[in-house]
Symmetry: C7
Subunit: 96 residues, 7 copies
Amino acid sequence: MNIKPIHTNVVVKPKKEDDITKSGIILPGSSEKERPEQGEVVAVGEGKLLDDGKRAPMSVKVGDNVMFKKYSPDEVSIDGEDYLIVAEGDIIAILK
Amino acid sequence: MNIKPIHTNVVVKPKKEDDITKSGIILPGSSEKERPEQGEVVAVGEGKLLDDGKRAPMSVKVGDNVMFKKYSPDEVSIDGEDYLIVAEGDIIAILK
Amino acid sequence: MNIKPIHTNVVVKPKKEDDITKSGIILPGSSEKERPEQGEVVAVGEGKLLDDGKRAPMSVKVGDNVMFKKYSPDEVSIDGEDYLIVAEGDIIAILK
Amino acid sequence: MNIKPIHTNVVVKPKKEDDITKSGIILPGSSEKERPEQGEVVAVGEGKLLDDGKRAPMSVKVGDNVMFKKYSPDEVSIDGEDYLIVAEGDIIAILK
Amino acid sequence: MNIKPIHTNVVVKPKKEDDITKSGIILPGSSEKERPEQGEVVAVGEGKLLDDGKRAPMSVKVGDNVMFKKYSPDEVSIDGEDYLIVAEGDIIAILK
Amino acid sequence: MNIKPIHTNVVVKPKKEDDITKSGIILPGSSEKERPEQGEVVAVGEGKLLDDGKRAPMSVKVGDNVMFKKYSPDEVSIDGEDYLIVAEGDIIAILK
Amino acid sequence: MNIKPIHTNVVVKPKKEDDITKSGIILPGSSEKERPEQGEVVAVGEGKLLDDGKRAPMSVKVGDNVMFKKYSPDEVSIDGEDYLIVAEGDIIAILK
């Protein structure tokens, strides 16, 4: 991966709706309005800057399959594939 | 449970309105507008990040029957059942 | 009491307007707009989370007769009686 | 006084406009819009909660004659007399 | 002076526009919109409450000739003269 | 470079859309709305002021090729070339 | 200079647009909307109040040629010349 996010940014390869439905275990709820998205973490930032100048460890790591709120993440294309930049605070859970 | 919430997120299995009414002890008030929901905690996050980089312990644990504000929690379907992702700060009380 | 509030939430049994008027010592002011309500504390939360992860002691305790701002507290029915969930920060004073 | 304010709340017996004018030393300015009110402090709260869980001392004490911003203080009647609940932060000055 | 401001409040005797123009050294700029006012400090508050419960020293003292933003300071009449209550944060500079 | 940014400001030489497309590895996503810009860091500020008066190290350094949110960065022309002043918090990632 | 700014205020002698253009090295960008102004620092405040009551050192000093955001700085005339009062946080960079 040739992209190194800073702060608490996370690069996520979003799962296509079809793939989520096929895997079938964990799906967004039936409500259209509040359906979080899913994706795989491909790069993580440095962690939140603490008051003493240190960084808090990130709550997710590369390879985690995560569920995140779909506010308006920045989109980026790397080697022809689409990725999303998601703030760690918008990630809700790690799916196993 | 194949979902591990991060931050202060909590996965809650919401109780159906009928089940709450039947159990009958603790019910939402009569006002339509401010009726908190109830549910069972099935997974809890890591706890709030403190200034020193540690995590505060969560105030609820798996198995707790909780009452929470029904703002707009994210919905998720796991193994065909509906769950809600609720921020710990929106949980009001543990019901015994 | 089968309800254990978390954070700084307080469960209050509200006094009926008639009972307040009869007891007669401390009444809401004549202005309709800014009349705080009264009630008895029946359960208290854990206290505010401090920066070091400890909890500040609550300023009210079970049995206190309190006056509180009537913003929009959550309503709950326990054993058929109506209660309000009030944030400690909305409690103004303890009445003796 | 049968009322014990919590947090930084202060119970104030407001001075009537006539009494202020008669005493005559310190009066609100001529502008209608920004005229602070005056009153006597009859009960004070516990003081602001500090980060270490202690309380900061209150800047006013019982008996102080204070000038305060008239935002929208809660009104309360005690033994038939009207009082205002004023947040310490809305008190501007002590009058001697 | 029979008024003791609390918090970071400062009592200022405002200079009349004519007096400012006559003294002539430091004047508000030509723009009507952003003209700070001038005045003499006659009483100062206790200083900002710090996290450890101490007070930061005030940046102005009695006798200072100050320039301040004219948001909407409270007005007060003392012994028949008009004064303004200005928050320390709205004072821009000390004029020598 | 004759410009020394202060605080967390960063001077960035923005890449032209054509150059980004030609290099071709990392491109903004297809959505028009959320396309971050790219550029080369030519000067960095002092870092965020911490509570103890020290400065946190900057997350980017001169020469880094960065992707940043295009809110409304200040524009400046130096020796006839256009640069942008970007707050460190608006930089999302370093591209390698 | 007979003016001593307090807090993080800075007194700046703004450069005239013509003078900036003639010196010619560093110019505002071509966009009308986001053109920062330039000027010379003639007086600086005490620095930001830290949590422990100390002051952080200012990032600019008297004599610095600075670029700053032109929100709505207060204007002041000293000895017949126009100056701006700029908050340190609105200064972007020092020009050499």
